[in-house]
Amino acid sequence: MRIELVKRPQHSKLFSALSPFLAFGLTIVAGAVLFALLGKNPATTLYYYFIDPLTEVWSLHELAIKAAPLILIAVGLSVCFLSNNWNIGAEGQFLMGAVAGSMLPVLFPEFQFWIVLPLMLLMGMAGGAAYAAIPAFLKVRFNTNEILTSLMLVYVAQLFLDWLVRGPWRNPAGFNFPETRNFHSYAILPEILPDSGRAHWGFVFALVAALLVWFLLSKTLKGFEVKVLGQSPRAGRFAGFSAGRMVIFAFLVSGALAGLAGISEVSGAIGQLRPSFSPGYGFTAIIVAFLGRLNPLGIVAAGLVLALTYLGGEAAQISVGLSDKVVRAFQGMILFFVLACDTMIHYQIRFVRPQAAGAGETSHV
């Protein structure tokens, strides 16, 4: 049997909407098989993984905490990916945003005033954007592949953070633990509903960013420019759009949002810098961006789903003893299924038996 693709005259609206759900369904099935192979009861494990975390209020707050950075980063990445700029170093921009934003409470702990927090958020965005500007500049100026440079900078950022918190920024009163001093109260991003749970304003930032970028992409000329340059750079040039400026724009937007995610995570959820405070949000956000079909509103939903995989992983670890290593394998599978299902948007898939194909050809004659 052979698989044959037939190009659709127009992309299928039905499958555009359906493919993320189909992909998620397939992931659930694959997950059930995986759990069974690991010797767990698939039904119970799936329940603890995907349903149980949604049944308690505090747990919904945790979901929002984990979804916030994923959505913020992925929304920025959608601008990059739509304009055909492959920024895969968001993890590094996330870390550098956190570092830049933490400068105030760590280096000037006596400076306690309401202005500290807004400044921290701005500095976080600036830090992420500046770090993203490096691969963008190298791409525009020297034609250097942005995939490889942005990724290499992730390792550099991780080492830089490691050096900071073990060296110059280490808490003087912290018994030599590799962490900075705890942020003072003016440097803490407050909770949205302090009475019911921990979720901080980072989640609101994520929703606002998604709305803004959605507006930018679908209602403004700049958004049109993003898509034209992404789909056909030649057509973009004829329209007078500058590909180079688009590279810088896309990287700065996604870097700033990743940086905002970084400083929100540190000042909202953790309260200090540590050597490895990110469970790979910058990479998981790539999956979020594709599961959300590069649409900021879809990304909000996708971010919640991927946040659930983190949370469900923890829940399943406690309740059925599932290894927490399953989480990342699971997330990788989601992306595979998303990409495979997206094929059906542009192509009709036909299964052809070699003989039947031969018979079909003769009937044409």
Partner: protein, 304 residues
């Protein structure tokens, strides 16, 4: 002393060389597989696990090659049969490989591994200065050199190699000539997967005979950069791999000397060097334009 340093450089360079050589063939066929890191780490965990349970490093190596090739089939099926975006699919392969290997290898953490022995030929290995260098290294080192020569010969001196390059340079014309573009690309991708698997096994059986989650530490990505650095030429990949091996070993020695430089900065050197080298190579647009396979990363759907 000098001999010992060169041998450690070879040990650091060999996994890069093998993985990059596989990716070079893949890219010469017009496919960009960013999943090298994922295939490599799958090879590492397989090689380590099989060698540990059977006690034979060679069985580990074969299993790693097999798993690398099978794992790359996932990528091939998506990008070649379902025509998905190659960049995104390659990333997916890397993320899945890192996740799966962490899951598979959970029970291996902290266990002492099996180390592959080095060659010993009486008299020859004992020769002063060059004996251990030429006749006393691990077997995979020799395989990596033969692999380089083999790929160079295959690509530029055989008909099959010419066919593969034609598929990479212009898949439309190749298809029109009756060449089975997709079939050739499947084989190329699987060869790349096998090489990445072998490179991973080398990490876990020779370089550091133990399992650490994420132990490939970006080497798959450096291998990808090496292919660009080498402008898709096999012998230049060898030169690049040894250059990176030298940077890696150099920074390790510098750390051991206890210079007043943060160890993190030294550890970052191979990654920074990758960026610098990529900039130096890519700023010469003509050089890269001439050598880049023209169909690299482009989707191909045959019109029947």
């Amino acid at each position: 002393m000098f001999e010992a340093i060169v041998i450690t450089i070879a040990t650091a360079a060999t996994p890069l060389l093998i993985a990059a050589m596989g990716e070079l063939v893949v890219e010469r066929s017009g496919v960009l597989n960013l999943g090298v890191e994922g295939m490599m780490i799958m090879g590492a965990v397989t090689g380590f696990g099989v060698a540990l349970t059977t006690g034979s490093p060679w069985l580990g190596v074969f299993a790693a090659i097999l798993v690398g090739a099978l794992f790359s089939l996932l990528f091939a099926f998506l990008t070649l049969t379902l025509v998905t975006n190659q960049v995104a699919t390659g990333l997916a392969l890397t993320l899945l490989g890192l996740g799966l290997s962490g899951m598979i290898g959970e029970g291996f953490v902290g266990l002492p591994g099996v180390k592959m022995g080095t060659l010993y030929i009486p008299f020859l290995t004992d020769l002063p200065y060059v004996g251990r260098l030429v006749f006393g290294q691990d077997p995979i080192f020799y395989i990596s050199i033969m692999l380089t020569a083999g790929v160079a010969y295959f690509l530029f001196y055989t008909k099959a190699g010419l066919t593969l390059r034609s598929v990479g340079d212009n898949h439309g014309s190749a298809h029109a000539l009756g060449i089975r573009v997709i079939a050739i690309r499947y084989l190329a991708v699987m060869f790349g997967g096998a090489c990445a698997g072998l490179a991973g096994a080398y990490l876990a059986l020779v370089y550091v005979p133990q399992w650490v989650e994420g132990m490939s530490a970006g080497r798959g990505w450096i291998a990808l950069a090496l292919v660009v650095f080498a402008s898709w030429r096999p012998w230049r990949v060898l030169a690049g791999a040894y250059l990176f091996g030298a940077v890696t070993i150099g920074q390790l020695h510098a750390q051991a000397l206890g210079w007043p430089i943060p160890s993190q900065l030294l550890s970052a050197l191979p990654y920074l060097a990758t960026i610098v080298v990529l900039v130096l190579i890519s700023r010469n647009r003509r050089l890269t334009m001439v050598n880049t396979p023209a169909s690299l990363g482009r989707p191909f759907v045959p019109d029947r």
